[in-house]
């Protein structure tokens, strides 16, 4: 059993800072609205509240990193031996974009990078946040703001065998434009309803997307709310899940306990499930015989 007492005590302190800061900001706004001389106090309260809340948030950020380094790292290594975990960094932009599944962002943020292997299949996974820059022209001037179009998880699996051609399977609208790929219809009506398949090699699409794999992709989609897209290219399978969630993050107002650990373990099991469900360790992914 893990002892989270000291972490919870510090988390509560941070929460208190944030609550007090929020209250001061609220009082500041009220005083400012009353006008006259009192509005000066409003500004003072507002600034003080901002500073107090900022200190709380900053300290909580440190607690999050402490938790990740002291606890999460061990949990990850328990599940995947010889794995590495870097809470502050993710995969570089070039690696994320090379699958072609995601369009280039104006603001790119990646963290919680896990590297390891399971049943001889190497994997890398990280959290991703991609934002698009928007400009709004109003009578008061020009406003620049960012809209998040992807917040979720990025997975890349590497197997010993290389395939000819490229296959992209996406749920819903495709985020980038593949000029070299043609839309394909698989024999499963249900799969075609759920996913769109694009490829530049028809035979290999049917070779890789076996009925079992199609069924597994549909199961994966059911287990992971959000939008899923995947690409088979060479010896790599890339999966992106846009579920509007920042994985492995503690919540300021939620207690850290064994349940938090269980839910994080579940997040980690997704990697194992993908390898087992999609049977990435099966014959066609590990056989070194040449393709026809």
């Amino acid at each position: 059993m893990n002892d989270f007492t000291s972490l919870n005590q510090e988390r509560k302190k941070c929460a208190n800072y944030v609550v007090i800061g929020g209250f001061l900001i609220f009082v500041g706004i009220i005083l400012f609205m009353l006008g006259d001389v009192i509005s000066i106090f409003g500004v003072i309260f507002f600034i003080a509240g901002g500073i107090v809340a900022g200190i709380g948030a900053g300290k909580f950020q440190q607690i999050k990193y402490r938790f990740k380094n002291e606890y999460l790292k061990k949990i990850i290594q328990d599940v995947y031996q010889n794995s590495t975990y870097d809470p502050k960094n993710g995969l570089p932009m070039a690696r994320v974009y090379r699958s072609g599944l995601l369009k280039k962002a104006d603001r790119f943020h990646s963290e919680d990078l896990i590297r390891g292997s399971f049943e001889d299949v190497k994997f890398e996974t990280c959290d991703l946040k991609l934002e698009e820059r928007h400009v709004r022209h109003t009578k008061n001037g020009t406003q620049v703001y960012y809209v998040t179009y992807f917040l979720g998880r990025f997975f890349e699996f590497e197997f010993p065998k290389s395939f000819k051609g490229k296959i992209v399977v996406t749920e819903g609208a495709i985020l980038t434009w593949f000029t070299d790929l043609k839309k394909m219809e698989m024999e499963s009506v249900e799969f075609n309803k759920k996913f769109k398949t694009y490829s530049n090699d028809e035979h290999n699409t049917f070779y890789v997307l076996t009925p079992h794999l199609m069924e597994s992709l549909m199961d994966l989609e059911r287990q992971n709310p959000g939008t899923i897209a995947c690409s088979f290219d060479g010896n790599r399978l890339t999966i992106v899940i846009n579920n509007n969630r920042d994985t492995f993050e503690l919540k300021l107002f939620s207690e850290i306990n064994e349940m938090s650990i269980i839910s994080m373990k579940k997040e980690l099991e997704v990697i194992q499930n993908i390898i087992e469900e999609l049977r990435l360790n099966r014959n066609i992914f590990i056989n070194k015989e040449e393709n026809i």
């Binding site: 290999n204 070779y207 014959n283 056989n287």
Partner: protein
């Protein structure tokens, strides 16, 4: 534009509408005909994919039987019977012939599986294991080729049986294509656990 129409008589307007309708029908007819021809080419392409997969499977099984000489005599004899296609599938071979060929190969593969169970020393042979993986891979490719072929057949058959496209299909004497069926023996072959 409005003035041009006003200056035309009723007869001219009817003639223009009729010509426009005829043109629409002609373009639609050509469109459907081209689509059917394109799909027919895709079906032929997919059938040649089956030929390639069958040849690869035949070659892999031949190599396997050379390795297991003395162990699998019956399987060697079965393969001898289908050896007429040793140098590739003939261009005039029907889909039915290919199905029978695939069926024979599946029987040989299943037979080898039974033989392997009787001689555990074969299982330990690295070369034998590589060949078994190769046979499994050729089977996966054959399944893929079959599914691609059937998918293309399904697409063309849907047009052939759907009204009004069926009118065009009849006019160019295009008939429903046959599917390449997976026989039970082959399904079992895919599930082989070596």
């Amino acid at each position: 534009m409005k003035l041009v129409f006003l200056s035309l008589g009723n007869g001219s307007i009817i003639a223009i509408v009729v010509v426009a309708l005829i043109l629409i029908i002609v373009f639609w007819y050509i469109g459907v005909m081209n689509r059917l021809r394109q799909l027919e080419v895709k079906v032929e392409e997919a059938e040649s994919g089956i030929d390639v997969a069958l040849t690869k499977r035949f070659d892999a099984l031949t190599k396997m039987l050379e390795t297991t000489k003395g162990y699998a005599k019956h399987e060697s004899e079965t393969l001898e019977k289908v050896i007429k296609w040793r140098n590739g599938i003939p261009s005039d071979a029907s889909l039915q012939d290919k199905q029978e060929f695939a069926n024979s190969l599946a029987k040989v593969a299943n037979g080898i599986n039974v033989v392997v169970e009787q001689y555990p020393d074969l299982k330990a042979n690295t070369m034998f294991n590589n060949l078994q993986n190769s046979i499994m891979d050729t089977e996966e490719h054959l399944q893929a080729a079959r599914r691609l072929f059937n998918s293309n057949v399904r697409a063309i058959n849907q047009i052939i049986v759907t009204f009004p496209q069926s009118i065009v299909a009849n006019a160019i004497h295009m008939q429903k294509k046959n599917f390449f069926e997976a026989e039970e023996a082959k399904r079992q072959d895919v599930k082989m656990n070596f």
